[in-house]
């Protein structure tokens, strides 16, 4: 296959960026999208040109490091028949001769570092505001001391599957991180161990979310449609229910 790429190139956070065109030949259908970018980078290196910077690590769709906007959709969601991360998108989904636009996540809270690499430490900051259960090492009772109903445990798991890639923010016209935040809220709210901090958690995580410059949710739903782990929009409803309930409780700020 022959592919034409138009890739966002930006030397650093303050430099002016632009889309540049590249041609890659000898692309095979079995290659992943990132392996195709590897091929381009090998080509650029041999031409003494600067390779394209992009984040990636596990290449199994689980670490959440990779993520670029492909033809306008985070992780190339609309080029793939199934929800995917960029590393699990394969070239068999593109036609020979395709022209593909590749851009970084764009959101005020995710400043660009270089080319397709952005700074997502704001996600860590949201977790720091309460996305945990306070259980010091060594203080735990026996794991079977508190059974957890399977239905709720499964729901907790569905939300804990979030990989923190940031596609939801990139897809949202408001650059809201509400889907990410609600996944953590719902994960912990469904478990018996998560109850003591349930209402203080939702208040402080939302407060931090807003401080960091993420926008509000207006129920557009783009986030859930591009999410590689299929975190449902319903999780945001769960967050809102907990947040409203929290306003009538003395817990937290």
């Amino acid at each position: 296959m022959k592919i034409t790429l138009r890739i966002w190139r930006q030397a650093n956070a303050t430099a002016k960026g632009e889309l540049k065109t590249y041609h890659v030949d000898n692309v095979s259908e079995e290659m992943s999208f990132l392996e195709m970018l590897d091929l381009l980078n090998e080509q650029l290196t041999m031409a003494n040109d600067d390779p394209v910077a992009f984040d990636h690590d596990c290449r199994e769709g689980i670490c959440g490091a990779c993520g670029v906007v492909i033809n306008g959709a985070p992780h190339g969601r609309y080029s793939s028949p199934v929800p995917t991360t960029t590393c699990q998108l394969h070239m068999r989904n593109f036609a020979d001769g395709a022209v593909i636009d590749v851009e970084p996540w764009r959101a005020g809270a995710f400043p660009i570092i270089k080319d397709l690499v952005v700074d997502r430490t704001a996600f860590d900051a949201i977790i720091q505001a309460g996305g945990f259960i306070s259980a010091n090492t060594g203080s735990a009772p026996d794991a079977h001391a508190t059974p957890a109903p399977k239905r709720l445990a499964d729901k907790a798991f569905d939300n804990a599957a979030c990989i923190g890639c940031g596609a939801c923010v990139a897809a949202c016209p408001n650059s809201s991180a509400m889907l990410f935040t609600s996944a953590k809220i719902t994960h912990l709210a469904m478990l018996p161990q998560g109850q003591p901090e349930r209402y203080s958690r939702v208040k402080s995580m939302i407060a931090r979310h807003d401080e960091l410059g993420f926008g509000g949710c207006t129920n557009v739903g783009e986030c859930a449609s591009v999410c590689p782990k299929e975190i449902p929009l319903e999780s945001i409803a769960q967050l809102n229910r907990d947040l409203i309930a929290a306003l009538f409780k003395a817990d937290g700020k």
Partner: protein, 676 residues
């Protein structure tokens, strides 16, 4: 041939290996208390010195890595009140490669009432490791395993549960009880997120300071003690030193020396190799685990291999056609009596659940025998001849789907099937999956004592980065157990013993010659890499190294092959330092430069792995020497000569020095491993 004659020949060959290394003094683990194995850990915890809570905040612990071992240790030491500096090369601590572990975590809970116990987990792990692990360490691992599950549940890790609300477990390779706890096929992710959340809680509490996108590139050793590290800020290129009272390396394994492996692209040996160069012994570098159930290689541009969880072997059946002529047929058209379910045939007791090393080697044997499936690839033998080989075997769920129904299979393995389909374009519900072994885990790592301290005082090593608990082969679902055992329960109890004397050790500052020397050497190395401006990319060297390692130091190793490999690696390393092309400069986000430093270290490690494999003229676990096998092709140990840990001291430009740590088996009888 008499026994004496056999011995003389093997000594003569050992001498040939001796041209690659020299023999140093024997060493021993000074920290494990004497006495019954059941009491060692409680004795050690009692005897280890403590640090007063008020003094802890005055002490700084540097932790490199944020996976299960590093993240758990940072969180726990933060909770204890130490001042922790935690570093990772990723953009967030949540991305450490522990996250990719799929199948599960072992614990001796005996919730199934199926005869499990601490002693049985201990026994299974020692046996699974082919009697090349320390008894004391493995017993402790089994002992703390139950507390790990408790801790994780308390943190909100969503383990799989049964309808009664209690935890579900399943079976894994090499054992006959169901002691593996799991969270669908994403157990590593859930455990890591648990540790990550505990870590972020400490960041918020101010006890841990997190440095993302900082790669450790040197260790600082002053007056014989580990005092700090040097990092490169991967965004700005700034090369900085960090000083503390102790340094913990929890930087994972070195499987990427093979280029293609199931490791993340960034996994590397640099942290531990830099420590090795400064005097830390490297234990058993040749012990690598080749995982039997990975998706086969698709072509030259492949960048990594994807694992399919071992849990698939609970219900999937592995087979190849009985006749080579059937290998190109649609597998669904091959009748039942023409299929060779070779693991069930050879190992009736364990069947498809034999340990990984055995399952992998048998897959290789079937393909060598001409009965592999999938596309044929050209392979070159030692004598230069080439042949076409199909590298794949079937993993078939059709009988499980018949027995359990598609929905039940989907509930247990759905995400793995989806992943397979996404990567290969084939639907595993319809047609058997194709799998082949791939490099997955490295049992070797920096040598540590019972306290997880290396031979350099103040330098601790945890998780996959150390060599300690798995012997020559790791059982499935034991890596997560070891990482969290080290991070939550072992290290936080043993490191106090060293930190209690911190005031006696004194402090050093940035003007200390050890600091300025470390900074200068890092800068010099970076400048050198950038100045070569050669004709080959970093990746092309890495791929070539990987090919050499896989060919000669992979699933089967020979005397002749290993010597060829050493020669080839030396040549490649020489070329690297005069012909590598690293684009850009240091003072920017430069991924080519990051990779260049890592590959330079892999080029040194690869040679040591081959020397270690050459010197160990026996087969044990994942280390299979073609010259040492039983009549039916199983690994044949030589306990008289090789019942020891090989701890290698860096030899600089000269030869590495071998220190043997003899292994003693007092509580488990040494015998030939059998899974038949």
């Amino acid at each position: 041939m008499t026994e004496t004659e056999t011995r003389t020949i093997s000594e003569a060959k050992a001498d040939a290996a001796l041209s690659f290394y020299t023999l140093g003094d024997e060493i021993s683990d000074p920290k494990a208390p004497t006495g019954p194995v059941q009491e060692k850990w409680s004795t050690r915890k009692f005897e280890a010195k403590l640090v007063n809570p008020a003094n802890r905040r005055k002490l700084t612990v540097i932790i490199v890595g944020t996976g299960l071992a590093g993240g758990a240790a940072a969180a726990t030491l933060g909770e204890a009140g130490y001042n922790v500096l935690n570093f990772c090369y990723q953009d967030s601590p949540r991305r450490a490669h522990s996250i990719a572990a799929q199948g599960g975590i072992n614990a001796a809970k005996n919730y199934r009432n199926d005869g499990d116990s601490v002693h049985r987990l201990f026994y299974d792990t020692v046996k699974g490791g082919d009697y090349r692990a320390r008894e004391a360490n493995v017993y402790r691992l089994a002992e703390v395993s139950a507390a790990i599950i408790d801790q994780c549940v308390a943190q909100g890790v969503p383990f799989a549960r049964e309808y009664g609300g209690l935890l579900d477990t399943r079976s894994f390779g090499g054992v006959q009880v169901q002691r593996t706890f799991y969270a669908r096929g994403q157990t590593g992710q859930q455990l890591l997120i648990g540790a990550y959340q505990a870590l972020e809680r400490q960041v918020a509490a101010g006890t841990v300071t997190m440095y993302n996108r900082h790669e450790m590139v040197e260790v600082i050793i002053a007056d014989g003690r580990a005092r700090g590290i040097v990092t490169r800020n991967m965004v700005t290129g700034a090369i900085e030193s960090w000083l503390g009272d102790a340094v913990v390396l929890a930087t994972g394994g070195y499987g990427n020396v093979f280029f293609l492996s199931t490791n993340a692209m960034g996994c590397n040996v640099t942290a531990t190799w830099r420590a090795h160069r400064k005097g830390a012994y490297f234990g058993n570098p040749c012990y690598t685990q080749i995982h039997p159930t990975c998706i086969p290689v698709h072509g030259e541009t492949q960048s990594k291999l994807t694992l399919m969880s071992e849990s698939l072997r609970n219900d999937g059946r592995i087979w190849v056609p009985k006749n080579a002529a059937d290998c190109t047929k649609d597998p669904r058209q091959i009748p039942e009596d023409q299929r060779d379910y070779y693991l069930e045939r050879i190992y009736p007791a364990f069947g498809n659940l034999v340990p990984r090393d055995i399952a992998s080697r048998q897959a290789k044997n079937m393909c060598d025998d001409g009965r592999g499936v999938g596309p044929a690839v050209t392979e070159r033998a030692l004598d230069g001849s080439t042949r076409q080989v199909r590298r794949g075997v079937y993993l078939d769920f059709s009988s499980a789907i018949k027995r359990l129904g598609k929905d039940k299979v989907k509930a247990s393995y759905g995400n793995l099937f989806d992943m397979y389909e996404q990567i290969t374009g084939d639907n595993p519900y319809e047609t058997p999956m194709r799998i082949y072994p791939a490099v997955h885990y490295t049992m070797g790592g920096l040598w540590v004592d019972y306290d997880l301290q290396s031979n350099i005082p103040g330098l601790y090593v945890a998780g996959e980065a150390n060599f300690s608990d798995h012997g020559a082969n790791r059982l499935g679902a034991s890596a997560l157990m070891q990482g969290l055992a080290d991070g939550y329960f072992v290290l936080p109890n043993t490191i106090n013993d060293y930190l209690a004397d911190a005031t006696k050790h004194g402090t050093i500052d940035e003007s200390h010659p050890a600091v300025t020397e470390a900074l200068a050497s890092v800068k010099e190395r970076v400048d050198k890499l950038l100045s070569i401006k050669g004709n080959r990319s970093v990746d092309s060297f890495h791929k070539e190294l990987g090919t050499i390692m896989w060919e000669y130091c992979g699933m089967e190793r020979t005397e002749a092959g290993l010597q060829i490999a050493i020669e080839k690696i030396r040549g490649l390393r020489e070329e690297y330092w005069r012909n590598v092309r690293v684009t850009g400069q240091n003072e920017e986000f430069n991924q080519a430069l990051e990779r260049a430093g890592r590959v330079a270290d892999f080029l040194e490690l690869g040679e040591l792995m081959c020397i270690d494999a050459l010197h160990r003229r026996e087969s044990c676990g994942g280390h299979f020497r073609a010259e040492s096998q039983t009549e039916d092709g199983e690994a044949l140990r030589d306990d008289d000569q090789y019942l020891y840990v090989a701890a290698w001291e860096y030899g600089g430009e000269g030869k590495p020095v071998l220190h043997k740590e003899p292994l003693e088996y007092k509580f488990i009888e040494l015998k030939q491993r059998s899974y038949k």
